[in-house]
Symmetry: C2
Amino acid sequence: METTLIKSLYRETKKFTDKNIQISGWIRTIRDSKSFGFIELNDGSFFKNIQIVFDDTLENFKQISKLAISSSLSVEGVLVLTPDAKQPFELRANKIVLEGNSASDYPLQKKRHTLEYLRTIAHLRPRSNTFSAVFRVRSVAAYAVHKFFQERNFVYANTPIITGSDCEGAGEMFKVTAMDLNNIPKKDDGTVDFSKDFFGKETNLTVSGQLSAETMALAFRNVYTFGPTFRAEDSNTARHAAEFWMIEPEMAFAELKDYMDVAEDLVKYIIHYVLENAPEEMSFFNSFIDKTLFDRLDNVANSSFGRITYTEAVDILKKSGQKFQYPVEWGIDLQTEHERYLTEKVFNKPIFVTDYPKKIKAFYMRENEDGKTVAAADLLVPGVGEIVGGSQREERYDVLERRIEELGLNKKDYWWYLELRKYGETKHSGFGLGFERILMYMTGMSNIRDVIPFPRTTGSAEF
Amino acid sequence: METTLIKSLYRETKKFTDKNIQISGWIRTIRDSKSFGFIELNDGSFFKNIQIVFDDTLENFKQISKLAISSSLSVEGVLVLTPDAKQPFELRANKIVLEGNSASDYPLQKKRHTLEYLRTIAHLRPRSNTFSAVFRVRSVAAYAVHKFFQERNFVYANTPIITGSDCEGAGEMFKVTAMDLNNIPKKDDGTVDFSKDFFGKETNLTVSGQLSAETMALAFRNVYTFGPTFRAEDSNTARHAAEFWMIEPEMAFAELKDYMDVAEDLVKYIIHYVLENAPEEMSFFNSFIDKTLFDRLDNVANSSFGRITYTEAVDILKKSGQKFQYPVEWGIDLQTEHERYLTEKVFNKPIFVTDYPKKIKAFYMRENEDGKTVAAADLLVPGVGEIVGGSQREERYDVLERRIEELGLNKKDYWWYLELRKYGETKHSGFGLGFERILMYMTGMSNIRDVIPFPRTTGSAEF
């Protein structure tokens, strides 16, 4: 007999009602009395379980009723509607086969576990309700990202993970090497001889695919990356991981305004798509993780995002009368307290803050006419602060060259990036969205370690 | 005026015929006579260009007619059908604005360039016909992979890139470190003190997400990874890169046969999807890269893949009378010459070869009843040889433990992998498909360096 998925039973109940079917899955709970028993079975296809009812007409009744949680079964039986019960239907078993045993010390017993404890059993935690919901939402959201861009004719660009260029300039990098660390080849002056390494030069893990993505945008017009990026920053916070996934679109013939339009559409699209395609999981988060979740997402998905300049933002903050830990002056980098005040107290919806002082932004952002600011914009959302950062890119060869020199960077490292401006300079814009950041926002999970299957953080690369 | 994409002009020609429209893009070719000129413009949205006709009624006629290739323009004009010409329509310009200049030494002039040369200008080569086609097909194929699995309710699992576990056992690994290589902390015995490194232990770049994916499959039933993997193998061939993307599905409650069904469906799905969604690019490959391409793909997409055991394959090869460089005996690892003989001369279609000797396969593959073979299967396709490898996984705790010991591996490294068998052991299967390998197969490109935007190979990590 063909195996039916529990997801199908919930989505197409009618089709299976009063029919004999076969399912397979893992025991989530089991209780028995003398002559009958109940099993909550989960088959991984769906967030919810199905209730199995079995009794001592089964020849292996005794064996089954003593099974440990997480044992795997295949079950044949009739699907019966149960309009008076909590669950919509149950399976009345006429045959249960034990597929695989579980030990009685299975760590995920029915009682509540702390998230900290569950991190120590990362190989088992996807079987818990919380992480079943988190990682399915992660998958659905990832697909939403691809769907959004592919339907808009963006080309998916796989930019390199190992980078030989030192010019990404977005933070501390991990080194990649094939050398024997106990016996590193040295040059005459005693320093490392990278010419003996695998690539014949020093290489690192990428911190951003942006610069490579720009080369693709100037061929395909609209492209996006979606892949892992890395920071070797020793910041042991709930919001930082050493390995995380970034979405980095780049668009030719696009100005700052165009980037903001696409970013706003993207954020709304992901939220709508996940609400529609993982409703059980999202209800779970709203009930058990963050009771304000639906209100929050609703506000983002259905409001028109605000847009103010950095200069206006600074004015608002200065006039607010609010006491901030970091005092506000034109020229400072906005802190999370400022960002949250603006988006939560002043606007009560997501806002883009645009045209930041060039001193606090990267060399590749397009200089505005005023000579003081750049065409950059960050998207701030209530409850979190910054969630997207982007800019129009400096497409003018001479201005870019000057900025590289002003910042004391080495022009030689940027030869190919500069050549993009020499051969068909074209205005273009792009942004970066941290995938884990939007997952945390959408699930209410407050630690980045809990939205990545096997997180890598300072001092921890387990599993 | 809104900008229209060239893709829309080709896909919805009627809508724009005889209308005044605006487009923007880069000059691919330009020629002029005294009073008029022609520009082939490409806007990145589509493989094909549009022909722009302009004349000296434009006030900047002289400026435009002297522009270098790759300069970017925005053009307003009327779209006119040209039924007698090679191209279906042209744009009669009434306004051309220079968006960005290109230098006259632009390296991608109209003449043919070798693929080797184009690799040295990887930041510009996506603008050539060949690489425009390759990288768009790469994007379309990637989306096909996600679509295939998401529509079948598989959960996308982002398995870690940085791995602290030494147990993947699929080849040489790159080391990842945040230590200063010029000043590596040492222990008293003179060896590296990894406790001082970022993660407090030795870490590497993953060679496979499989073991992590198995943890997810035993929660979600059906999962897949799709991400970068790495090999530090010093093999300077046309088929090996140090960084490449792998698709690794894992399925609980699935036997070897089920894996083969899914792999066959997947390969056919990707081919169909790409043929349907990138027809211009695929025609280009069939005309200019490999004239047997369509026949080859047709054969794969429309045949029912064969299935034979390794033992049968060895018999066929031995009885073939064919002279092989590597003689055939039961127990050998099949070489490409053997694989190609089987799939090209004997079957003339893709075949799965199953049940290999356990001595030549990995420890995690399920041991068959005969004690000599494992439930593994490789998919061989004409023209290439192996394209997919997979197996049923050993779910029996005691057998897996024995295999780990037999191979002299360290049981401690596998504690969590073994625990998957302790807590709800469940039969399951999975496979790996090298993304670049299927891209090479589908495009006819014969060097892996030419299907990756910025390839990383022995001695080369440019850009």
